[in-house]
Subunit: 322 residues, 2 copies
């Protein structure tokens, strides 16, 4: 495939852009802090500046671009090119981002949910290469998901497919901020790990240095729990084990519906490695409904920061061909 | 669309066939008892006889057929045309059904999971007409599912997508026969309704005529509970309410992943109507993760017995065009 594209990964913290060719090679990169709270205009200007920057780095002009793809927090409508609302971008409500960027750059622009472009990127050039049925999830403050079904990104009726973090796995379980009970995110995200740890040290007669955080719970984070687990604290290890095992139950639920070949895990908490992966794999082994589902592999995501840039480009390559 | 097809609905109880034109009109029908336990050959002969019967009724010859489609219990491989194993067809293990039917009839034949062809049929001519993203579930002894995603049947890596009944909705819940705990099927199927009812009358001080079944639990079935509920027994109503509400939680989980516009419910237990639909809709209202998901409608399936025949035909129309 030929052509020249810019992929933009619009996050709450950073705007990242990449100039990318049709084969998925990132030729130039740009990264700048997201200034989302000032006005609706500021992040628009940042996106345009970042796109212009990578095009200039590549000694090209905007008119050389085939298309621009943007991965953004949502909910959004990819079909309408509109951000409906996004927690970290308070001035953008029913905001026609794709059209605005097209007007400013003169280049056709599409937008898509950040977790979905992450999935597309990992499928194109990372942990899902060559697979027709692939699922990816990201473990961070929350839990995101993205699915490739029969070689196509699953977007659904209004681009809200693969909302993995709010799957109920205990209908009588703890209250989630979303209004449901027992959402996966309450157990297996970084936030969920901290929540479970504080709950456990409060209720049980457990010897762990983590008990010290009972009087300063706001200082506890998943990296601290990780550090103690790595140092051999059995309690800290058991918290990762619970988070990973419950994650594995969620994966089995998704697998039963989507019947994928492989699931990849990315995001900050996935760097805990076997502390998360081993119990997740054990859950799949013990809970996988049918024997052939047990052959599904759970692997780490490969591309990390580049995944969303590449996925945003992959999306527009397909759109531009339509 | 032109062409002439036979759709076969191979169930544990009956083999049903229909001669169907390319527009989805059923021209002739046949139905006969499934004799699955005698030998591997008996149900093959029944299928061929049933196909021949509807073709003769229509005053046509087998050579006039464009293709044959069969919906069968699974697990099976649609790509290989092979039944891997099926509970009600004990002689069929790794059984190349599609090839055998093609050899006997001279007509190209494809097979697919029964719940999936049911979904295709309802999408083509029933409750999912005109929708690109549609989900259907069947409530019977177990719970089946089928999904249309962006205008295509979701089959997955090995034709086992939409295994809805074994979704964990309480990871510490009751043990399921499949090895997991807290599967949806343990609450919201006909079997699950009976199980919950017997559990409740044993453990609680409840006044209900259903207590009489404590000493003859094998005589209780979902129709009896339905009859008492219709007569106004509050306890019986509350059991349907629980089954329906938990079903709604499962629907929300599926919705979060697949982002469909509409879900239809078929199968024997769906005939309980509002006793099941009202609490399921309440769960969607209360638990739907995002406001736009709450607009999804939960409706009854429309075609009942014809759905699988039509879906099997719809499947082969698409295959024959490839």
């Amino acid at each position: 495939m030929s052509g020249l594209y810019v992929g933009v990964d619009l996050g709450g913290t950073n705007v990242r852009s990449g100039l990318v060719d049709g084969e998925g090679n990132i030729l130039c990169r740009d990264k700048r802090k997201t200034l989302a709270r000032e006005s609706a205009e500021t992040p628009v200007r940042q996106i345009v500046d970042s796109i212009t920057e990578v095009v200039c780095q590549g000694k090209m002009n905007l008119s050389d671009l085939t298309a621009i793809g943007i991965g953004s927090p949502g909910p959004l409508s990819g079909k309408k090119g509109m951000i409906l609302r996004a927690g970290n971008l308070p001035h953008w409500i029913n905001f026609p981002l794709a059209e605005i960027i097209r007007e400013r750059t003169g280049v056709r622009t599409w937008i898509q949910n950040d977790a979905n472009v992450f999935a597309l990127g990992e499928w194109w050039k990372g942990s899902g290469r060559g697979l027709d049925n692939f699922f990816i999830l990201t473990l961070g403050t929350g839990i995101g998901g993205g699915a490739i079904c029969e070689g196509k990104l699953l977007t659904g009726f209004n681009d809200n497919a693969s909302e993995f973090g709010h799957m109920t796995i205990d209908y009588n379980g703890v209250q989630c901020w979303c209004g449901q009970r027992g959402c996966l995110e309450m157990y297996s995200s970084a936030t969920g790990l901290v929540r479970m740890t504080l709950e456990a040290v409060a209720n049980e007669h457990i010897k762990t240095p983590l008990s010290a955080y009972l009087c300063k719970p706001e200082e506890l984070n998943s990296y601290i729990i990780y550090t103690y687990a790595k140092e051999g604290d059995d309690f800290a290890v058991s918290m990762f084990d619970k988070a990973g095992y419950i994650l594995g139950i969620g994966i089995v639920n998704a697998l039963n519906l989507l019947n994928f070949e492989r699931v990849a895990i990315g995001g900050g908490l996935s760097r805990a490695g076997d502390l998360i992966f081993e119990p997740a794999r054990r859950a799949l082994e013990e809970r996988g409904f049918q024997s052939f589902n047990r052959d599904v592999s759970i692997v780490p995501a490969e591309l990390q920061e580049d995944a969303a840039i590449l996925g945003a480009v992959r999306m527009v390559i397909e759109k531009a061909e339509e």
